[in-house]
């Protein structure tokens, strides 16, 4: 500790002695709890009355005493649910379910009670004070959590895309809504990361305040946190050998984008990517004009431009970006459907590790074949699989 640090510690310790006395603290806490419980019971009574009087009305209770009524959405559309000062968007056919966990109940949103209460496909608000986070916020496989307002928002579904869209929508009441339905993988300044098109704000939004930066520096000397404007949120993390800073329109988006950042091997680039990732300068994944279409064994599919059919004698059909790799790293291949025995369901994207790297794999059936794809980017895997016909 420096002399200044020690003086600061001494001042804080001395000032702490002015704290109020503890007398009556437990009694007052108990009184507040009783008041809160009564309010919750009253809210539950109102809920029952609404259900009887207007069956089509949906009540987004979300648990706790700060529940609000959400709009009745059109069929198939998404709707916004609120909990205290937190917001999130969910599919219109999802409803809220009261799940009982050994006497502890929680309100969880999902397509049905089983999926919600078994956390197979769900979104839930947790008081952030009591949320036990075992890893930093973000998306991990097909589940994840983020913070919004006073709450942690946790979600999981059967697809990465849906989970990511749910989590990206989490925000506080003063934040803008985020459209997380379209994501792109950006490759720039030695990084690859996933971000919603136009940061989820639409093509007309001013995106100049939002950025992803790579900064060199020692792990013990973090750069100044970038929160340039009152309406931005920042996240700073140390990835590989450099600091990564993300400034986003919501805390959830800052954390989601941060959780996707990978440092390109052998790259020592630094710098910032500001604004929209969809203006073509940063390079995007997802099917574009740069992708090539192939047809093999009656199956059509698209792959990014660097990908080609690989010459892999005796190893079957392989497409990949590196002609020297057959059946390793990232590739697309064909398995005979009759003999294919996968450990996951069709179109499900799962992660695995190879040589210290994380690869994302999935497959779809097409005719007599299972088309199997694995890449370093879950979105790219998903995008390639989506082109298979």
């Amino acid at each position: 500790m420096s002399d200044f640090d020690e003086r600061l510690s001494a001042v804080l310790t001395a000032e702490a002695e002015h704290a109020p006395p503890v007398a009556g603290l437990a009694r007052e806490a108990r009184r507040r709890h009783v008041v809160r419980r009564r309010r919750r019971v009253a809210a539950g009574t109102v809920t029952a009355a609404l259900v009887v009087a207007a069956p089509v009305a949906l009540l987004a209770v979300g648990g706790g005493d700060d529940a609000d009524v959400a709009n009745d959405p059109p069929a198939g559309a998404w709707r916004t649910v609120t909990h205290g000062d937190a917001r999130a968007d969910i599919p219109g056919d999802w409803t809220d379910h009261t799940c009982d966990f050994d006497g502890f109940t929680a309100e969880v949103y999902g397509p049905d009670e089983k999926a919600a209460c078994q956390f197979e496909s769900y979104l839930a608000f947790y008081g952030s004070a009591t949320f036990d986070a075992r890893r930093p916020p973000g998306i991990f496989g097909k589940q994840g959590y983020v913070y919004a307002g006073d709450f942690a928002v946790s979600a999981a579904t059967e697809t990465v895309g849906l989970t990511r869209r749910l989590l990206a929508s989490a925000r506080s009441e003063s934040d803008p809504p985020i459209d997380g339905s379209e994501w792109q993988t950006v490759g720039a300044v030695g990084l690859r990361y996933d971000v919603p098109a136009f940061w989820g704000l639409g093509p007309d939004a001013d995106l100049s305040n939002y950025a992803v930066c790579a900064v060199t520096g020692d792990r013990d000397a973090p750069p100044t946190e970038r929160e340039d404007e009152p309406a931005t949120y920042g996240s700073t993390s140390f990835v590989a050998d450099r600091w990564i800073q993300v400034v986003a329109p919501t805390q959830a988006l800052a954390d989601l984008v941060t959780s996707t950042v990978r440092v390109e091997p052998r790259s020592d680039d630094v710098g910032c990517v500001s604004g929209s990732a969809s203006d073509g300068d940063e390079g995007t994944s997802g099917p574009t004009d740069d992708w090539q279409r192939f047809a093999v064994e009656g199956v059509r599919f698209d792959v990014p431009d660097p990908w080609r059919e690989l010459d892999c004698p005796g190893s079957g059909i392989y497409f990949g970006p590196d002609p020297n790799r057959c059946g390793r790293n990232d590739y697309l291949t064909f398995y005979a459907r009759a003999w294919f025995d996968p450990a996951m369901g069709p179109a499900e994207i799962v992660s695995g590790h190879e040589g210290g790297d994380t690869l994302w794999a999935g497959y779809v059936f097409a005719g007599d074949w299972a088309v199997y794809v694995r890449t370093y980017d879950p979105q790219l895997t998903q995008d390639i699989l989506a082109t298979v016909r």
């Binding site: 503890v22 603290l25 437990a26 007052e28 806490a29 709890h33 700073t236």
Partner: protein, 177 residues
């Protein structure tokens, strides 16, 4: 739980509050800067802990668990009132009113008052990180786990907060940590 069990749980809660309440109030006071808000924050956190005390009491570190509730209650309380605080470019002298000299530490009352006021003028996220680091003496990874942000973000907040405090005290130069 039977009636006896319920009484035992409540007694356990009261005992814990009696033993650890003063430390929570001191932490809340350093975070909020005044006694009324400190009481409000701690009472709010404890009232939310009470209905799940059976579970909390079995946590590996009850103190850390409830301390996190207090810190989050503080930031929630701050957000609720939508206070827009800016980094303290300078410390207003009137912010030091009412601060009196405390236990020695070799600091003059004026310097201590200015440093305390500067700390209170920090944005809430920076102030929380600085308090947990220099009052609670937590490591960066512990602060990250407690506040639900990345360790890098904690380091950045502490670094930036300390830089602002140094500047407000008229001190510049490299940290010698």
């Amino acid at each position: 739980m039977d009636e006896l069990g319920a009484r035992q749980a409540l007694s356990s809660f009261d005992d814990w509050v009696a033993a650890r309440g003063p430390a929570l109030l001191r932490l809340a006071y350093v975070l909020t800067g005044n006694a009324a808000d400190a009481e409000d924050v701690v009472q709010d956190a404890l009232s939310r802990a009470l209905p799940r005390w059976d579970r909390i009491a079995h946590a590996d570190d009850v103190d850390a668990y409830v301390r996190r509730m207090v810190v989050n209650a503080h930031t929630s309380w701050w957000r609720k009132f939508r206070r827009r605080e800016s980094p303290a470019a300078e410390v207003r002298p009137d912010g030091a009113d009412g601060v009196v000299a405390g236990p020695g530490e070799g600091l003059g009352s004026d310097e201590r008052a200015r440093l305390w006021a500067a700390c209170q003028a920090l944005p809430v996220d920076q102030r929380t990180a600085v308090v947990l680091r220099y009052y609670e003496q937590l490591d960066y990874d512990e602060i990250a786990a407690l506040t639900g942000v990345r360790e890098g973000t904690v380091r950045s907040r502490v670094s930036r907060g300390i830089a602002v405090l140094r500047e407000s005290m008229g001190e510049t130069g490299e940290r010698d940590e």
